[in-house]
């Protein structure tokens, strides 16, 4: 076994230790905290690189490198619960991405959080998050994955609510945690069911794992309640966890609100890594999702499994609907948040229609350009004195040249600008696969419409932020709050925006370079990435016309956005949006996110509140009374015992002790005291026990 496989656990363990040390160090030790966090991530990146290199050279039995390290964790009954980690291309790619993007965002945070009082706490949470995320990535057991998954959810909660004194941040943190919990419930159920069916939670275990052929053959043959295969049912439950974590319909509501956290957190957790964990989970259990009786029989032309069909539909719908919402938002981070939801939808769709490699390729490219966009927006927000409303920006091109250039690269990558940007290649792969999907063409149409909208809203955003003239400062009074914590000290009316320090711009430049270069690893003519993930590209036929088509779509979106927002720049911040003038009703619907939150408020939450009140009543009066009664009895009994012990048993002895203290003939009294009481008990016990056993013998 390769040594790196054996020591793969070091990659998540390093940030975990860093988080532990930071947690116990004192608040002023900022340098220590930052260097520990960044050092552990950097070292993790080096190790990940080595793991990656190890996967390149060798090939396993199925043409793909895969080595596992399993160990016994604890025993119950006759069974050992095993945990372990796995190194395969999927793990290696995610490790590289998480540690690399993570390191850059950590470095960026030094600049962004420089003035925050709780700097050390921030880095403690960041490191803890990194540990959890890397744990998800390397886990070879659904249980270990679930543990890390929950750790990631916890840190996400802590970081969204990092500025917990802001009520909106505290509420957003709660919302994120509870919403993802609903999905996790499904994941947990799926996990339990999987264990009941296959007897193991290890993914790969030399032929005995739950994702390997034996277990799959066994499970696919059984049917659950509604006639679907057990694998499909389990796959769907696990997918529910992914829906929660990756913000898919209908559990997407938490992700835009999560932007209340510090912006580097949004970049790391809610754009690049954690929200992608859902996509990764589906990719990890892909063998379980895709298996059908047809595919086992070697019939490759059969319909895709129900689970994958559901994944595709959910992804396609999410991709389209989130893109429409993003059109009508004004908060720079919320636009990016909805775009993240939309892109995650693309990834899910990619997994559903095209398999692991296509979905993962978009995940990786998206991680880079979306982290870039978020950090760029952080730089903008930092430069504009904590304003987040794009109507109050404008003309930043000349104030922040580096930010502008890198942001433009990120935006073009996200929009899918042809040939030179990674987003083009990865999105095109998905659309191409969707075009060839045997079930329905609708996901393809939805994807194309989403692409058009993506190009449109990103152009709108860039035009409003960077072009025209600066609109901040004039109408400060009408500024809608909803920005970061430090909005309190934005009294500087006339201050002009400024460029950010080098510690913030350098990570932007590195990410921008990656956003361009990564695309060339996965072009249809040289599919290095897809080949590495073990999936050989299907027919390259029909790629070129499709590419021309998607290029036209992207240009249409860009042109429309440019024509509506850059040609005719708005003069003041209060002017209504161009689209709002044309169709106010639809625009309002989009701005209010199809009233998802309100609908939930009226139905699920209202029902829940009623139920909580009922439970409260039950708890307070029925159970509470019972507990009070029991506790009163318990306390009474214990006093009784104490009294017995002290007064009945010890009384004679205490009398003896008094005798000693008075200098009398203590010893003999002591003797009688104890022997008569303590030893008498032995005698009584002897008789009672013997009688008890003799009685038992007769019975």
């Amino acid at each position: 076994m390769n040594w790196i496989v054996q020591y793969l656990w070091l990659i998540p363990a390093l940030p975990l230790v860093a988080a532990g040390i930071i947690a116990v160090s004192k608040q002023p030790h900022r340098k220590l905290a930052a260097s520990l966090a960044i050092g552990s991530m950097g070292l993790g990146f080096v190790l990940s690189l080595m793991a990656f290199l190890a996967t390149l050279g060798h090939h396993g039995e199925h043409g793909q490198f895969r080595e596992v390290y399993n160990f016994n964790w604890l025993q119950f009954g006759g069974q050992w619960l095993q945990l372990g980690w796995v190194l395969d291309p999927l793990t290696a790619v995610m490790l590289m991405m998480v540690t690399f993007v993570g390191s850059l965002i950590f470095i960026f945070s030094i600049g962004y959080m420089a003035h925050d009082q709780n700097f050390t706490r921030f880095f403690c949470f960041l490191s803890l998050f990194a540990a959890g995320m890397l744990g998800v990535v390397i886990a070879n057991s659904l249980l270990l994955l679930f543990i890390s998954w929950e750790l990631v959810g916890l840190t996400s909660y802590l970081l969204i609510g990092f500025w917990y004194h802001k009520p909106s941040a505290a509420a957003a943190a709660k919302k994120a945690f509870i919403t993802t919990r609903i999905g996790d419930m499904g994941l947990l159920l799926g996990m339990v069911w999987l264990y009941a069916q296959s007897g193991t939670l290890l993914f790969y275990d030399g032929g005995k794992g739950c994702l390997e052929n034996d277990a799959l053959v066994r499970m696919v043959a059984q049917t659950a309640a509604t006639g679907m295969a057990v694998t499909t049912a389990i796959g769907l439950l696990i997918f529910l966890g992914a829906v929660g974590k990756s913000g898919q319909l209908p559990l997407h509501v938490w992700l835009p609100d999560a932007m209340e956290g510090p912006t580097p957190v949004s970049a790391l957790i809610h754009a690049a890594t954690m929200v992608a964990a859902g996509v990764f989970l589906v990719a990890r259990v892909f063998p379980l999702m895709e298996v059908t009786l047809d595919s086992l029989a070697g019939n490759a032309d059969g319909l895709p499994s129900t689970a994958l069909q559901v994944v595709t539909w959910v992804g396609a719908l999410t991709a389209f609907f989130a893109a429409t919402i993003a059109v009508a938002q004004n908060d720079i981070k919320r636009i990016l948040a909805y775009s993240t939801v939309s892109q995650l939808g693309y990834m899910m769709m990619g997994l559903g229609v095209g398999g692991v490699a296509i979905g993962m390729f978009h995940l990786i490219t998206h991680a880079f350009f979306k982290a870039l966009l978020f950090l760029g927006s952080a730089s903008v927000i930092h430069g504009c004195h904590e304003h987040q409303d794009i109507r109050f920006m404008g003309g930043l091109k000349k104030f922040m040249p580096v930010t502008f250039l890198t942001y433009a690269i990120g935006m073009l990558a996200l929009a899918g600008f042809p040939l030179f940007f990674s987003g083009f290649w990865s999105k095109d792969e998905i659309l191409h696969a969707a075009h060839g999907w045997s079930v329905s063409h609708w996901p393809f149409y939805l994807g194309c419409a989403g692409a058009l909208l993506t190009a449109f809203y990103m152009t709108r955003q860039v035009a409003l932020v960077f072009f025209g003239s600066y609109r901040g400062g004039h109408s400060h009074s009408s500024h809608r709050s909803g920005s970061d914590l430090k909005s309190a000290d934005t009294s500087a009316h006339s201050k002009e925006p400024h460029e950010s320090p080098a510690v913030m711009t350098v990570p932007l430049i590195v990410l921008a370079a990656c956003a361009v270069l990564l695309g060339f690893l996965g072009t249809p003519w040289w599919p290095a990435f897809q080949g590495y993930l073990g999936q050989h590209h299907g027919s390259a036929g029909g790629v070129v016309p499709l590419m021309v088509g998607s290029t036209l779509i992207v240009f249409a979106g860009l042109g429309l956005g440019w024509w509506l927002y850059a040609k005719r720049q708005r003069k003041t911040a209060d002017e209504p949006d161009v689209l709002e003038v044309v169709r106010p009703d639809i625009f309002a619907l989009l701005r209010n996110k199809y009233f998802f939150d309100e609908a939930y408020e009226k139905t699920v939450i209202a029902l829940h509140a009623w139920f909580a009140r009922a439970c409260d009543f039950l708890d307070r009066w029925v159970w509470g009374g019972a507990v009070m009664l029991v506790s009163a009895i318990t306390v009474g009994l214990s006093w009784l015992y104490r009294a017995t012990d002290e007064f009945v048993v010890n009384l004679g002895f205490d009398a003896g002790c008094k005798g000693i203290r008075q200098g009398g003939d203590g010893l003999s009294k002591l003797h009688t005291g104890r022997v008569q009481n303590y030893l008498r008990v032995i005698g009584v016990a002897l008789v009672v026990l013997i009688l008890f056993l003799v009685w038992g013998r007769k019975a």
């Binding site: 964790w73 048993v649 003797h671 008990v681 002897l686 056993l693």
Partner: protein, 494 residues
Amino acid sequence: MEVLKLAAPETVLVVIALAVLAVDLLALRGQPVSMRFGIGAAVAGLGCAATMLMLLGRHAHANLFDGMLVVDPLTNVVKAAIVLLTLFTVLISTAGKFTEHVGEYLALILLATVGMMFLVSAEDLLMIFISLELLSLSLYVLTAFNKRNIKSAEAALKYFLFGGMAAAFTLFGLSLLYGMSGSTNLHRIAEGLAGKGMDPLLIVAVVTTLIGFGFKVAAVPFHLWAPDAYEGAPTPSAAFIATGSKVASFFILAKIMMIGFAGAEGSAAWRTFISGWMPAMALLAALSMVLGNLTAIAQTSLKRLLAYSAIAHGGYMLLAVMANNEAGMAGLLYYVITYGLATLGAFGVVQVVEDATGNDSIISFTGLSRRAPALSLCLLVFLLSLGGIPPLAGFFGKFFVFSAAVGADGNHLGLLWLVILAIAMSAVSFYYYLRVLKAAYVADGADVTQATNMMAVPVATLAALVLLAFLVVILGCAPALLMGLLQAGDQVGH
């Protein structure tokens, strides 16, 4: 020669005990107590460490003189655990101010350890009784070691008289056994008793044997000595009685019951009582759990509280004995060893606080988290482990024991009523553990002056306590470390 080779760890410890005595009496006369303790503890500690290495390093299987000295992997692990506990006891004694007779004190601790090790190795009634007496006599003296404190003498006398009486019963029971079966070897006794049924003589033998070991493990109603002894004895002695001696006693109790009285189990299942050692033990276990936990609630002295909690834990461990199979044995040993680590740690904390404030009442722990943060963190780990909070070792101990008792073969959930009682009672136990932690962490502010001064914590003690807390956490996170050893030993042993 083979005796010497197989009993080498015991021999080393005896030699070390004599060496400690000699060094202290010859070379260190007139030196300050702390220095004598330091050097003595260093010698004793090195001896313990060497013994542990010898124990864990050998893989021999041997049975000398028909069960007088049995060496197999399982006994090696148990002995190593006992020596480890001794080592920690020595470490936390070093800061003690209770005696000037350092050499004698350390030598007695080591001799008691030797007694435990022989006890663990014995499968013969005579050897069991002799090593039991070696152990008990050393412990009586250790209890009385604080000569300036009248309570110490009083506690020792109580302990001694109670112990003497119990030993007499045991001897009576053992002689009956010999009379009925014609042998003193446990396996042979089981053969001799087979098919005789529960005649009254056997009942008397079972009950008297139970009394003797019930006294050692402080099961109700043979527990009366324990609170007084724990309270009166010097704290390290109390810790030693509560931990190392428990490990050895439970191991040998389980062995006698499972091997010697095989065939005389009876049944303790709900409503199907059949006479035998099981129902008697079930009675003791139930009484111990209920009385130990409930009485602990009313205690104000932490040492007495730990004594009652020890009684309660003894009740849980009797459940594992009643499982009467390999899983029960492994679970019992896991439980008693991790319980020993946590209890030793808790006593260590008590020792430091007692030295600093003059008494061990719960009030003197007020504000400990501010006066000695590291110390109170250790206390937190120990008490939560005793309470059974995951992921600490105590949780898995309870888990293994309860699951062994529920799943015991042939009983078909017969012991479920006891397990339910045990779980309910361990919920009660949180109340008094958390009361101590509440005093330590949520100070009432009544003792503001006391609560603000930093407390001086001896370095050796603190190091030992941190190490113990670390062990408790590690064994909780990776229970397989110890469980694997115990099961491997168990499977080979049977």
